[in-house]
């Protein structure tokens, strides 16, 4: 294992300290927790909280700020945070208008967030939750019942966060988040595995000329392995799988996210993005907005995922609203 860490057991804490020192105007750490909270909490809006296992940075703490998250809860690497921590996050951001929890669909995350939701409700806080399951690759894998939640979660943060920022009520913010989840699909692939620091060795291995299609963001198995082919051919394969699940037609408008899993150069992500745009143009689909970068990583894995979100006028408006966070910035009129 070759990593820039001190001790595996201190990685999470030291990372959170480092983030807090990097973005003091955006976020602060709640004492005695692994919860980061937005500095300029607005008094009059629905709170938006997300979180999950660490190792996916900048998700989720990097999305704290105007127009996205009000708090994020960081679990141990690839491990759900516990309900007591999530509960602290809910309490910290509730301003009497309720709190929306954005959960990625992993059994541990769903259970822990549900439990925190119940605990907060017992204290009289209004809490709603949505579960993101954008990955079309596999049903029921190592950590999941149903589909996994991957990079599409960031678009849920963006749009639900904008809806909350506009002062929409909890029901409407939840409904909007659910619309994003219904309209988006993702799929990823890996060129190389990742190593959880505490484990010390890679969680799977790939031959030099081999790739895994449909990989999860924790290195969970995908659909199959194949020989490395061209970027265009890989893009075509993922694109076809996404569209088989969510057909698009001429005249549709979409947002595209090409997400690096951490060790993939931006050059390669742009090459993928070029092909995605060509394929969409070929169908007569308009791309309204594109995100290329590292949004939902998997430690040092090399690979990427493609997310396509079909937009309507509301979603377009919310996607174009201002987001001012450490990891994602959109300059909008609202």
């Amino acid at each position: 294992m070759k990593k820039l860490i001190n001790k595996p057991e201190n990685a999470l804490d030291e990372m959170l300290e480092g983030m807090t020192k990097a973005y003091p105007t955006y976020l602060r750490r709640l004492d005695q927790t692994d919860v980061l909270v937005r500095q300029d909490l607005s008094a009059d809006k629905v709170g938006v909280v997300s979180g999950g296992g660490s190792g996916h940075e900048p998700a989720h703490c990097g999305y704290i700020g105007k127009g996205m998250l009000d708090a994020a809860v960081a679990g141990a690497i690839f491990t759900s945070p516990t309900p007591d921590q999530i509960y602290e996050a809910i309490k910290a951001v509730d301003r009497g208008k309720g709190v929306l929890l954005v959960i990625k669909n992993y059994s541990g995350d769903v259970m822990n967030f549900d439990m925190a939701k119940e605990m907060a409700e017992m204290e009289g806080i209004q809490v709603a939750s949505v579960v993101v399951n954008d990955d079309v690759a596999v049903e029921n894998s190592t950590f999941t019942a149903g589909r996994r939640g991957i990079a599409g979660t960031v678009l849920v943060h963006k749009i639900a966060g904008a809806a909350a920022e506009r002062g929409w009520d909890l029901d409407k913010v939840k409904e909007t988040a659910e619309k994003v989840i219904a309209n988006e699909r993702s799929m990823g692939m890996a060129l190389s595995p990742c190593t959880v620091p505490a484990a010390g060795k890679p969680n799977f291995s790939l031959a030099e000329d081999e790739i895994e299609i449909g990989i999860g963001i924790h290195g969970e198995p995908g659909t199959h392995r194949e020989k490395l082919v061209s970027a265009d051919a890989i893009t075509q394969e993922l694109f076809d799988r996404i569209l088989a699940d969510y057909p698009l037609k001429s005249g549709d408008e979409v947002a595209v996210m090409v997400n690096g899993l951490a060790s993939t150069p931006l050059m390669e992500l742009y090459i993928i993005n070029k092909k995605v745009h060509e394929l969409l143009e070929g169908l007569g689909v308009t791309v309204h907005q594109t995100f290329v970068g590292e949004y939902m990583t998997a430690l040092e894995m090399a690979g990427m995922s493609i997310t396509i979100l079909k937009l309507d006028s509301d979603l377009k408006m919310l996607l174009d609203d201002t987001a001012d966070t450490p990891a994602l910035k959109v300059i909008g009129t609202k």
Partner: protein, 211 residues
């Protein structure tokens, strides 16, 4: 009838029992899961013990709430929220109560099983802790119906839970990581059912030893 200090005693024995069986639970989990059930449970119950040492409980409900929170915060994985749910359901049954009766015990088993069903989206026969807990509830409820003594009720739950846990060997896992083994999970006892049986055994054993 059990008073607050007796319930604390029973919870203490529960924590000791889990610690004593740490290796055993980890071995069971190693066969069909990720091999951390014993470690996670003993870590969680060590914090339950710490909670008990700290004391200052307003009533039985408060006691279970604080212990439940200790489990939720420190067990982790799926067992944390599942055991945490069971304890918080017990806390709701015992809200503002100073003492606990046999009928409360039955209600706790029932509500705990319902809570775990909901949390884990699971049911009896899927090779989980419910395969120990639901038979324990039924046996305890039967014993109440038959007008048995409090100790007999606790013993009935203990025996049924132990039988239920052993019975999971015959079942195909349908929840959690063990479910990926499918048929290959047959022949192995479910570690969650095993720990649930230990927890209920500790309750019966504590009151039996007190006599």
């Amino acid at each position: 009838m059990a008073e607050l200090n007796q319930i604390i005693g029973a919870l203490r024995l529960m924590a000791e029992t889990i610690e004593k069986n740490k290796e055993h639970l980890t071995e069971l989990d190693g066969a069909i899961g990720d091999g951390d059930h014993g470690i996670n449970m003993s870590r969680g119950f060590a914090f339950v013990k710490e909670t008990l040492d700290k004391g200052g409980f307003q009533n039985a409900g408060d006691l279970f709430k604080k212990c439940g929170m200790a489990l939720v915060a420190h067990v982790g994985g799926a067992s944390g929220p599942l055991y945490g749910t069971a304890f918080l359901r017990a806390a709701m049954v015992l809200k503002d109560r100073e003492d606990v009766h046999a009928a409360d015990y039955v209600q706790i088993l029932k509500d705990a099983a319902e809570g775990i069903k909901m949390r884990g989206k699971s049911d009896r026969g899927e090779k989980t802790m419910l395969d120990a807990l639901i038979p324990a509830y039924e046996a305890a409820a039967d014993a109440v119906q038959q007008g048995k003594s409090a100790q007999e009720i606790l013993n009935a739950a203990k025996v049924a839970a132990a039988e239920g846990a052993v019975g999971t060997e015959k079942l195909v896992a349908q929840k959690g990581r063990a479910s990926y083994l499918g048929e290959r999970s047959i022949g192995h006892q479910d570690p969650g059912a095993a720990s649930a049986a230990l927890v209920l055994a500790a309750v019966a054993d504590y009151f039996a030893a007190e006599k």
